[in-house]
Amino acid sequence: MSQPFAKLPAWADYGLIPLVNLAVAFLVAGLVVLLVGENPLQAAALMIKGAFGSGEGIGYTLYYATNFIFTGLCVAVAFHCGLFNIGGEGQAYLGGLGVSLVCLSLGNVLPWWLTFPLAILGAALAGALWALIPAWLQARRGSHIVITTIMFNFIAASLMVYLLVGALKPATSQAPETAGFGLGGQLPQLGWLLQLFGLQVRSAPLNVSFLLALASAFLVWVLIWRTKLGYEIRTMGFSPRAADYAGISQTKIIVITMMISGALAGMMALNPIMGAQHRMQLDFVSGAGFVGIAVALMGRSHPVGIVLAAILFGMLYQGGAEIAFDMPNISRDMIVIIQGLVILFAGALEHMFRPAIQRLFGRIAGSDLRAAPIATGESH
């Protein structure tokens, strides 16, 4: 009798539970807003208007979402293999190095559509290699990947500071950033896409890497559910013993999965660096790697869920900035608190309401159905 709870229908699992979590997060966030003497409803309206009320707002929301799609996919791919990759932050940072090296050397030579594939390759490769070391340590030495990837975030941060105040900084500059890229190192904006809907984008940095993020989400779906490699990754994630039994090499799968995961994180760097700033700045990742964990949890590690969750977090970032601007009592730090609450409820406490909802469904299902002949779990 290993099934004390009813199995939830898919819409409840993927729709209802995230919505309940979200509602609670906003409720608590609303209380915080109330505490500092502002009207929470007004704040909510501001946030939604700021994020979706104008072409510019939507542009920013989707720009932020692009970052979170990449880092969310990074965490999700590793999840499917049973690995918790906390290192998206560092892998994305290193990805920036890959992008910058390609753009600095070729940005003045090649058109953007030739630099772009090379920059993707550079970003993915740098991110993958940064994930390779913890992966290898996990697979061959049993060092826990959570610990090693966290450590690698710090190493990445220090390394990049070292490079950005040294080798990568133009000799004449005082700022810890690379030189600006040539035209070939700049991605086209997606303003025309929103203009089709009659929206003005203005300064919003939404760019081609948003489309790359959507394509990556689709490819991750194909990888996980439609390829042999994905089958092996999932087997390993659900049951390492079954992987042994099936002759799947754990070492190989761990290393390959982590490199794919790292590559996805690395590709996040394309968006701010090649798409918006056209140079690499200190701390350009600014927490997107960690938000990716919440995005993957909330999106249940499914690419569709991840894209939706990423847009939600994009809204929080963009709308939050608007609130901070318009409500004097709400500082930027308050916005971070609200974002933190959403991460807490949607991500970390993802399973808090699950048992109650399952019981509820069990009761509803139990009252109008006879006992099913199947699903008598065994007791051992």
Binding site: M1, T235, A242, D244, Y245, A246, I248, G362, R370, E378
Partner: protein, 510 residues
Amino acid sequence: MAETAIELVGIDKRFGLVHANRDIHLRIDRGTIHGIIGENGAGKSTLMSILYGFYQADRGEILVNGKKVSIADPNAAIAAGIGMVHQHFMLVENFTVLENIMLGVEGAPLLSRGIAKVRAELKRLEEDYELDVDPDALIEDLPIGLQQRVEILKALYRGADILILDEPTGVLTPPEADHLFRILKQLKEQGKTIVLITHKLREIKAVTDNVSVMRQGEIVATLKTADASVEELAELMVGRHVLLRVNKGEAKPGDVELAVEHLSVRDNRNCLAVDNVSFNVRAGEIVGIAGVAGNGQSELIEAITGIRRAVSGKVTLDGQPVDVTGKANPAELRRRGLAHVPEDRHHMGLVLAFEESENSILGYQDDKHYLKGPFLDIEAIRTDAQKKIGQYDIRPADTRLKTANFSGGNQQKIVLAREIERDPSVLIVAQPTRGVDVGAIEFIHRRIIEMRDAGKAVLLVSVELDEIRSLSDRILVMFAGRIVGECGPEAGEGEIGLLMAGVEKKAAAE
């Protein structure tokens, strides 16, 4: 004598769609041994978990000694005088017997007084019930039979008047089981009430006074054990007439298909689990390995199938060597005709979170038939799975259903179908009917014998002695990592039982 120790009135419990207990009425007399028998999933464990406070019944009442009690958790059960010995022991392995017994009832922040009290009490219990265990021995150093005795002592120390034992003999050798029954009878004579949950009919006959039969969540009969025959109980359990004996013809052994020579394997703790084992299996015969669980059978199978590295030794499959000490790979061995139905269906043989069709290719995922380049050929996989579902009568016939939602018997059929339908030359089957309902057991046994009759070499590992004896053409007995004897299927249970307990017989065949 006919005083009632426990009375259950109208106990009802659902888990979602599963109606685990339906309107259970049960009266257990004080000072008796009451057996509860039923197939896996019949609701025995659920009922006892309700009585012990792990689950709450949806409806119904529990009366202990005629008084209505509410048992919210195991502490309440203990307070009501109910103790439980679990199938899987709840002991701290690196604590001593004394520390385990004291755990949770230390009495004071400083242990010295508690220790003295436990020591005195242990001495008394030992004298009263012949339950002797060295109080200062570490649990991990004790054999399973003694560990179980510690569990019983734990319950008695907490003042249990009513003792529930859940499948207590699953891990014991026949002599150990006999000793346990002697202890239970002793306890009964001292006025304790014992509830024995089991699926083994023989035990019921051997030790109980009354027996209740459960089927699909209901108690279908409560009888005096003396009045019921084994056949009658089996029929009540399953709901129809069952064949307890397997019909099979003479074996016609051919060439050696699988040869194991001087194989030694270490377990996860790096202890020698398989110690210089040699045997072979011929085409057209079933070789059974009998033994109490944990005597190296698992490690032996894992080494032969390439899952675990062997320390030394040689294995030959179909005349060709298998690199068991080096690069042997399960996927490669499968291609060479070695099929493996593993003992741990839930974690090894299947991925429970997968759809049925996804499990139907586990281990064969490299097969060209299931792939289009790097992509899975979903259609081919589902068609193939659907075919096997028909051939093996797997229910429900849904290739897209999550494997966890199939019953134990149907899960095992998924594994069997996958392994047998590849037409292997050697089939290794471990615990083929563990957690499987009686109806499916017949089916599975028939398939295994069909494999033999088709000229395949079959190696069967089981802790169920009855299964080994009824299927095997030759029986090897494993104890402490070594093959301690070989006998024919006609050998008596007593003979094999002694070998299983490590009592080597001089006449045992080489």
